[in-house]
Amino acid sequence: MKPFRFKAIINDRPVELLIPPNRRLLDLLREDLDLTGVKEGCGEGECGACTVLLDGRPVNSCLVLAPEASGRKITTIEGLASAGRLHPLQEAFLEAGAVQCGYCTPGMILAAKALLEENPDPDEQTVKTAISGNLCRCTGYVKIVRAVRLAAVKMAGKGGGR
């Protein structure tokens, strides 16, 4: 196995690493970069806990071979808050009570972020569809959907958010 030179922009910072090519993006983020906000729930794309944004779109990082993500822009939950200020989605999740055990939360927030960037005013069904690849066993999703719509309102108030 020839090592692979992995280069990407992760959370707005350039990253360059030599990796074995059989590394999953999930493991690269968690093990090599200590971005442990990316969670593993099932390892087969069935729970969405490992969701990251690849060029702004949510993917399951457990199903992405790391070299496939090379050259691209990757966002994890660690890349959302800036200068100690929470992203409106993070604020909304707190305010709406959308967090219980918290294990699905990073992936949920990232799936929602991708939605709001595309559709700043989604209705309930659109939000449900956008998070339909993210399993939450605690909340029943109700407050998560509410939080995403609350974040949309917050972001509209701030002229589109970040």
Binding site: L86, L94, G102
Partner: protein
């Protein structure tokens, strides 16, 4: 103090208005651990890394009922990167855990009994996760298979294969009030059915995980758990340590629903860290989590209920058999609780309830959100609807006619003296269902 890290959310929600009355209680304040969870900063057990850390994984049985004849780990030990393979012989203390009954081995001993697929046989410890899989494949195991039993009803029969020394019926609960047979004979309507419920997985999103280290003679285990103090008792006993030498720190826990009340990685991690002197990490993969963890008890419920012409309950007679699988775990209290709740929230003058917690060679069932009550609620609520049909009234009416009120006496003879809100919940649920157009019946 950094209020943000504890989830304080600014003056509007949390400032303290001066004066009497509730100020904090009754308010929807944000979670104290919320900020860490929305930023990815919360370190769950699997997120922890310690210098020089080893990794561990369990070899599990592939047969449901057998005697473990021989276990040969030489092949695994010869692999580079394998630090150790531990078996039951390495356990310094008592090799048995369980919240109610200590009937479950931490690792099955040679010559000892395997009671289910997934029983832990050996613990492999290595320098990387990668080496563990190969090492597990190189351990040779010889079983002497025994006849299994998978149906709790069969397990209760005479002559069934015996899974534990004290027999297959782990516990029995009986509740008697009044004279059921006489009441049944006089009742206008009697309804009898058998209800069966399935085995269910907790499916917490975070699988079982922990990290252990020995620090200044103290064994510290960070672990996803619902009961750290129970974990401490078990780890101390299994490792033959004073309880003061074991510190369990509950890591942020990604859901439990009852499934993280049992010992999973705790004792194995303790063993590995104590014996190697190095930090050790152990995380179940999803498949292992689903195979190894306890489940919701499948029930077989025979339910007879009887009422008079107006739908007033006269008698309830129930027999519950719960399949607790290979180990008791929380089986006995689950079946006891099911018995206590078997009438539903209704006052019944004549009651006879029996519940049995039964061993089989199935995956063990333990605590899961509701402890046997969701199962029995399915039965008693179906019965209430059947009685309502027989009487010719609607489902709300029959429930209002029978539900507990202040002063009611339960099947166990307890008089309810305060905070009996069942009637209020029925009335308010019905009113809302009417408002929403879900329920179109009489107000």
């Amino acid at each position: 103090m950094n209020s943000e890290s504890r989830g304080g959310k600014g003056p509007e929600l949390t400032s303290f208005p001066e004066g009497p009355g509730f100020r904090v209680v009754g308010r929807s304040l944000p979670r104290v651990d919320g900020t860490a969870k929305v930023t990815g900063g919360a370190r769950f057990a699997a997120d922890c890394k310690l210098p020089g850390m080893l990794f561990a994984r369990v070899l599990r049985s592939t047969v449901p009922h057998a005697v473990l004849r021989r276990l040969d780990a030489a092949g695994a030990l010869s692999l580079p990167g394998v630090a150790a393979v531990f078996t039951a012989a390495d356990i310094p203390g008592n090799n048995a855990v369980g919240i109610i009954v200590k009937d479950e081995p931490v690792l099955v001993e040679t010559g000892g009994r395997i009671r289910r697929i997934g029983d832990p046989l050996a613990l492999v410890v290595g320098e990387s996760e990668a080496v563990l899989e190969a090492a597990l494949a190189k351990i040779k195991v010889e079983y002497e298979e025994l006849p299994p039993v998978f149906s709790p009803l069969e397990a209760m029969r005479e002559g069934a294969p015996q899974i534990h020394e004290k027999g297959n019926v782990q516990s029995v609960t009986r509740i008697k009030k009044g004279d059921v047979e006489a009441a049944l004979a006089q009742a206008k309507f009697v309804v009898t059915h058998r209800y069966t419920t399935q085995m269910v997985e907790h499916a917490y999103l975070e699988t079982e995980a922990g990290v252990a280290a020995v620090e200044n003679g103290l064994l510290v285990i960070w672990v996803s758990t619902q009961n750290p103090h129970y974990d401490r008792r078990e780890v101390a006993r299994v490792l033959n340590l004073g309880q003061h030498r074991v510190r369990i720190v509950q890591a942020p826990t990604g859901g439990g629903f009852g499934g993280k009340l049992d010992i999973s990685v705790q004792c194995l991690l303790g063993l590995a860290a104590w014996k190697t002197g190095r930090p050790v990490k152990m995380c179940y993969r999803r498949e292992e989590s689903m195979i190894a963890s306890t489940k919701r008890h499948p029930f077989v419920i025979d339910y007879t209920s009887a009422c008079d012409g107006e739908g007033r309950l006269l008698a309830v007679k129930v027999r519950i058999v719960g399949d607790t699988g290979a180990y008791a775990s929380y089986g006995p209290p689950t079946l006891k609780r099911a018995a206590v709740h078997a009438t539903g929230p209704y006052e019944v003058p004549n009651v006879f309830i029996e519940s049995f917690c039964v061993y089989t060679n199935n995956p063990p069932a333990g605590a899961m959100r509701g402890f046997g009550v969701p199962q029995i609620a399915f039965a008693h609520e179906s019965q209430m609807d059947l009685l309502a049909e027989a009487v010719g009234c609607d489902p709300f009416t029959i429930r209002l006619r029978n539900c507990y009120r202040t002063g009611s006496v339960t099947a166990t003879g307890q008089r309810l003296t305060a905070s009996v809100g069942i009637e209020e919940t029925i009335l308010r649920a019905r009113a809302r269902a009417q408002e929403l157009g879900i329920w179109r019946g009489e107000p």
